[in-house]
């Protein structure tokens, strides 16, 4: 039996949170490697199983963009100048902005670290998309979220559907003997892939609509307002609290707790008024809890770690060191390899 889809999302979000706490390329590389090993070991044979690879390629694109932006627009300066680009003269009111000019090794390394951080967070989302079944996740959504569930599901399934569409279009092209690669291949695949993904999303939305999702008839205005206010205020508080927590380890806790309590209250109130039954519901088994907690444990270790190696110095340039405790925390996220193993 496969673990709850929510467990995979919690595991991946835990890893993404851990990645958000560091710019150390060794730790970020470790997070990418751990996520990759878990994906190849635990993925089911589904059309969206290749999502992780697609997100890794997007990550490479992000790193490249970040470095190119740094080279042309500048940022962190350092004493080790690698080369100097011709500088575009700008008017006085544009002081602090430069186009071109000297490019330092320190700034380039800083841009690489920042790009790698973004790419790692994105790849963690890719890992969740590859491992979690989006349709089963929809069935586990709390009843109070049914009104927004169409939007949530379309948002959550767009990446897996794009990957599945790209895979089927590529196979169809290969069967027709079309062996074009690179930019010409992308040009011929783009429209069918987008059209197919949009069609799948619309079919999903229509099937959800026909099953009563987003139904508001028969519910008093007062109930709807109360639930909506509680859930929205809760999620808003949760988001701000999470931001505070990521920006500074402790200041976000009060808002996070208040937001969580409000969101749970909203979900409880909403669940009371939407009686629904589920056929063979996914259960939070010990294995699912183990998967989720292994990812969350990594995040907790990194959030509370004050190891200076989490942010290696770029001015002066230093080789990054592997901080022991945070690395062990990240390695905990390998637990699904033992807990969930696809034959």
């Amino acid at each position: 039996m496969k673990p709850h889809s929510g467990a995979w999302w919690l595991w991946a979000l835990g890893l993404a949170t851990a990645a958000g706490r560091t710019t150390n390329p060794l730790l970020l590389g470790l997070i990418l490697a751990v996520a990759g090993v878990v994906v190849v070991t635990c993925r089911a044979n589904t059309p969206w199983a290749g999502t992780y690879g697609v997100f890794l390629k997007f990550g490479l694109l992000i790193i490249g963009l970040r470095v190119v932006l740094h080279v042309f627009l500048g940022g962190i300066a350092g004493p080790t100048i690698l080369f100097t680009l011709p500088q575009v003269p700008l008017p006085d009111w544009a002081q602090g902005i430069r186009i071109g000019g000297p490019v330092s090794a320190e700034g380039l390394v800083f841009a690489l670290y920042q790009g790698l951080l973004l790419a790692t967070i994105l790849s963690c989302v890719g890992a969740a998309n590859a491992l979690a079944n989006p349709k089963r996740l929809l069935r586990s959504l709390p009843a109070a979220l049914y009104e927004v569930s169409v939007a949530v599901v379309v948002a959550l399934t767009v990446a897996p559907q794009l990957v599945a569409s790209a895979r089927s279009v590529r196979r169809a092209r290969q069967l027709r003997g079309d062996t074009a690669r690179g930019v010409p291949a992308i040009r011929t695949m783009l429209v069918p892939v987008l059209e197919d993904a949009l069609e799948r999303s619309l079919v999903l939305a229509a099937s959800m609509d026909s099953r009563g999702y987003g139904r508001t008839a028969g519910i008093s205005r007062r109930d709807r307002t109360l639930t909506g206010t509680l859930v929205l205020a809760g999620l808003f508080g949760f988001c701000i609290g999470m931001y505070g927590l990521l920006a500074d380890a402790y200041s976000g806790w009060p808002l996070l707790v208040i937001g969580g309590v409000l969101a749970i209250a909203g979900l409880k109130v909403g669940a009371r008024r939407v009686p629904r039954t589920r056929y063979r519901p996914d259960r939070w088994t010990a294995r699912a809890l183990g998967v989720a907690s292994s990812g969350v444990a990594g995040a907790v270790v990194l959030v509370f770690s004050a190891d200076p190696a989490l942010s290696p110095s770029t001015v002066p340039l230093q080789a990054p060191e592997l901080p022991i405790m945070p690395a062990l925390g990240v390695l905990l996220a390998l637990a699904p390899v033992v807990l969930v193993r696809e034959a």
Binding site: G29, L30, G36, V40, T41, Q318, L322
Partner: protein
């Protein structure tokens, strides 16, 4: 520290930056760990692909 001269502070900073030996060891350990995980992942992926093709 308030009483320290800038030369003492600079020397301490230099010693912190230039920790001999141990820094490179941990860098190499991290790189090896990542390489081992990548190789393990590739081997598992190849085995699964072979099993799916059969």
């Amino acid at each position: 520290m308030a009483g320290e001269t800038s030369a003492v502070v600079a020397e301490k900073a230099r010693q912190t930056v230039e920790k001999p030996g141990s820094g490179w060891l941990w860098t190499a350990t991290g790189a090896l760990l990542i390489a081992a995980l990548v190789v393990a992942g590739l081997l598992v992926a190849r085995r699964r692909r072979a099993a799916e093709d059969e």
